[in-house]
């Protein structure tokens, strides 16, 4: 029996496991995660009011519940266990740790207090245990022209009553109740914006935000969707959203805290006074230099954003994971299984949180969901561990 370890229980790791389970039904697959809880960006990156998108988790649950895939949570690569040890235990090790660092603006003032990366904010909105509390003030500038920017706009512009059915953090980590104006600024012209039209249209259902779209040019589905948004003005709106296109960030102004963001377009300048600048211009980090099939070195692979860069949605990464799995299956066909795999890892990390323990955490989160919400996430690793270690029916 071949033994395969996947490091990272996010969507790419889970989709890789799913494809491997199909290709190699005899293999034993373990998924390791630094957190005691699985699902990575599905749990902590997909917006809390997009529960339908999070429904892919039902596929992943099946891996653990019916297909014999093992979960080893609270196992941090390089701390709890190192890569060499895992390679000694497993015939194939797949890195699926993603890219989580926010790409910086790279202009003067981009490190001022009040400038926050989208990842930092998204983790706080999702009660990620490593998230630091963030404060978002009345006037916000969001730099970026992709779906992450739209998520931030929507989450900041929604009123308390618009989160029914979500699992939004109960303001434990994010102070953002008073946003009065959001300017969304993109470098590219409107017809090259990377928003999905369906995400733009969703903004047309905001109940408390008036929307203005400036500088539209070109044509296409995105431009049409933006045109539809222009003039959205629900009665009693408490927040204004302004979209701007074709402006390049030049400087974030402020002495001890952000006071304005400055942009240029040719010789023209635009200065937007603000208290908070959110950057949604992508993610970065060191990548291991995998080839197109995810191969790094014999027995070592990468999948997902770590392999292909921080691009692509859930389905694109699923398709990519299937390609990586096919490569691993082909390589393993020439490898005689002789490694200890799961038994060895169990001995190495006796404190790991396993799937049944995650189910206990999951049940606790659902049981404690506030009125109108689907869950209340356990916010700290210590509390997660404590629930995981409870025994019996309690």
């Amino acid at each position: 029996m071949h033994q395969i370890a996947i490091i990272g229980a996010g969507p790419s790791g889970c989709f890789t496991a799913q494809a491997l389970a199909k290709l190699l039904p005899e293999a034993r697959i373990d998924i390791i995660d630094a957190l005691p809880v699985p699902y990575g960006l599905i749990r902590y990156g997909v917006a809390p009011d997009h529960q339908g998108t999070k429904a892919v988790i039902r596929q992943f649950e099946r891996l653990f519940e019916r297909q014999g895939v093992g979960f080893f949570g609270d196992v941090r690569l390089g701390e709890t266990v190192n890569l060499e040890a895992l390679q000694g235990l497993y015939d194939a090790v797949v890195l699926a740790t993603g890219l989580s660092a926010d790409r910086r603006l790279g202009v003067k003032g981009d490190d001022l207090p009040g400038v926050l990366g989208s990842g930092v904010v998204t983790r706080a909105l999702n009660d990620h245990p490593d998230a630091n509390p963030v404060t978002i003030s009345e006037r916000v500038v969001i730099v970026g022209n992709g779906n992450v920017a739209v998520d931030l706009v929507r989450l900041l512009a929604k009123g308390a009553g618009e989160f029914h059915g979500s699992d939004l953090s109960e303001a434990a980590a994010v102070q953002c109740g008073d946003v009065r104006r959001i300017d969304v600024v993109g470098r590219s012209p409107s017809d090259a914006a990377k928003f999905d039209p369906v995400m733009i249209r969703e903004l047309g259902r905001l109940e408390q935000a008036a929307i203005h779209v400036h500088g539209l040019s070109g044509e296409g589905k995105i431009v049409e969707a933006l045109q539809h948004l222009e003039g959205h003005a629900p009665e009693g709106a408490t927040c204004e959203i302004h979209f701007h296109f074709g402006w390049t960030p030049e400087e974030i102004e402020g002495a001890t805290h952000v006071t304005a963001a400055r942009f240029r377009q040719g010789d023209a300048r635009m200065v937007l006074p603000c208290d908070t600048v959110l950057t949604a211009i992508g993610f970065e980090g060191d990548t291991p230099g995998a080839d197109a099939e995810g191969f790094i070195a014999p027995g070592l692979y990468a999948t997902g954003w770590l392999k292909r860069g921080p691009r692509g949605t859930i389905p694109e990464n699923r398709a990519d994971a299937q390609g990586v799995a096919a490569r691993i299956a082909a390589d393993l066909a020439t490898v005689t299984p002789a490694k200890p795999g799961r038994d060895g890892l169990l001995a190495l990390v006796p404190g790991a949180v396993h799937y049944e323990q995650w189910q206990r955490i999951d049940a606790a989160e659902r049981a404690e969901a506030p009125e109108g919400r689907v869950r209340r996430k356990i916010p700290t690793i210590a509390q997660m561990r404590s629930i995981a270690q409870q025994t019996g029916e309690s």
Binding site: F15, D49, G52, G165, D196, E202
Partner: protein
């Protein structure tokens, strides 16, 4: 009666449901095929088709159903005598395009002369029901009305 479950998927949710329906119908020895691997010339009047599809992007067919739609458009086969049931998967977070995928695929099949049996039902990913809980009773009911 031979049963073939055909699915169009993008994230894998419809694929999983298609597999669940097929195992539920194991007495019929139901097959499961991705629409991306299904040739419209292969429709057979002796088979009952169960079609499962999601909706993706801006109300489009999911990626794996698109080659099928193109092949249907190109081949324009006559599907009279072919019977099918169709189950859609959507997300009510996007009400403008909720289950356009199922609607569109149904139009493609009935437009070619195939007959829909039973209601087209749509599962809502943002709802609390599991797709299986909706789909398995749905297909049992439909099959009870179809000649053995």
């Amino acid at each position: 009666m031979q049963i073939a479950v055909l699915y169009g998927t993008e994230t894998g949710n419809a694929e999983m449901l298609a597999e669940d329906i097929a195992s539920h119908l194991s007495d019929h020895d139901a097959s499961v095929t991705n629409l991306s691997d299904f040739d419209p010339a292969g429709f057979d009047a002796g088979t009952f088709y169960v079609v499962v599809t999601s909706t993706y992007g801006d109300g489009e067919l999911p990626a794996s159903a698109q080659p099928f739609a193109e092949a249907m458009e190109a081949a324009k086969p006559d599907l009279s005598g072919i019977r099918f049931a169709i189950f859609g998967m959507g997300d009510s977070e996007y009400p403008e395009t909720f289950n356009y995928g199922g609607k569109r695929l149904e139009e493609i099949l009935t437009g070619a002369g195939a007959e829909r049996v039973g209601e087209r039902v749509t599962h809502d990913a943002s709802g609390s029901d599991m797709a299986d809980d909706l789909a398995l009773p749905w297909i049992d009911e439909i099959l009870s009305t179809v000649d053995a």
